[in-house]
């Protein structure tokens, strides 16, 4: 799976979780850029990403993330095993 494919799939997750099809998922995207990305939205996002990509994160891994680019890198690293 290419990095672009991860972004495409993650975009669908963002649109579903935040109920906003206008969100453009870029590496620089952060919570302050998305209206409903508050603490509860963050919980929903993490759960949806875990289910979509059939992976699990630790709380430490999630807490270290600074933007979507780091999130995608984490997802790719998990997929690579």
């Amino acid at each position: 799976m290419t990095t672009a494919a991860y972004y495409a799939q993650l975009t669908q997750v963002f649109h579903h979780v935040f109920d906003d099809d206008s969100i453009v998922v870029t590496p620089e995207l952060t919570a302050k850029d998305v209206d409903e990305w508050d603490s509860l939205g963050h919980m929903r996002l993490i759960m949806a990403v875990e289910e979509t990509f059939r992976t699990k994160f630790s709380a430490a891994e999630v807490n270290r993330l600074k933007n979507v680019g780091e999130f995608v890198a984490l997802i790719e690293a998990k997929a690579a095993g």
Binding site: L40, R44, L45, E50, E51, S58
Partner: protein, 140 residues
């Protein structure tokens, strides 16, 4: 009153289940009618309900949701949880005095996200009353 449990996230796993058995009484219906202000005769008048094809007055859907609240708040996951989303799809009516059961099954657990999703079903015997899902934030 059912016993209060307090399951933590790491004590929850996919497939785990719990149930609450209940019977909605005439007193429950009257209390809810006054609490909600919903005095629709479908829920308060047996004759009216029968004339519309039901066997008697229909239990308020919100009372089924109330039993889901008991299930989540008391049993699965219990004390250290709060539900943040709930959907219920009603299928068949429940009648006053009819024995029923609300059951929850853990469908997904996200330890890093701090939440679980429950699959919900409500039955009266074999009759499916409602099904749905709940999103629940759980203490670590």
């Amino acid at each position: 009153m059912s016993a209060l449990v307090a399951l933590k996230l790491n004590e929850l796993a996919k497939g785990q289940r719990a149930a609450v058995d209940f019977v909605v009484t005439a007193d429950d219906m009257l209390t809810f009618a006054n609490l909600s202000g919903d005095h629709n005769p479908l829920h308060t008048d047996d004759d009216f309900a029968r004339n519309r094809g039901f066997l008697g007055r229909v239990v308020y859907g919100a009372l089924l949701a109330a039993k889901v609240s008991q299930l989540i708040g008391m049993r699965l996951p219990g004390r250290d949880s709060v539900w943040t989303a709930l959907s219920l799809d009603f299928r068949k009516p429940l009648y006053v005095g009819e024995a029923a059961r609300a059951e929850g099954v853990v469908e997904a657990v996200s330890e890093s996200g701090g939440m679980v999703r429950l699959k919900l079903t409500l039955h009266a015997g074999e009759k499916l009353l409602a099904k749905g899902k709940a999103e629940v934030v759980v203490g670590q």
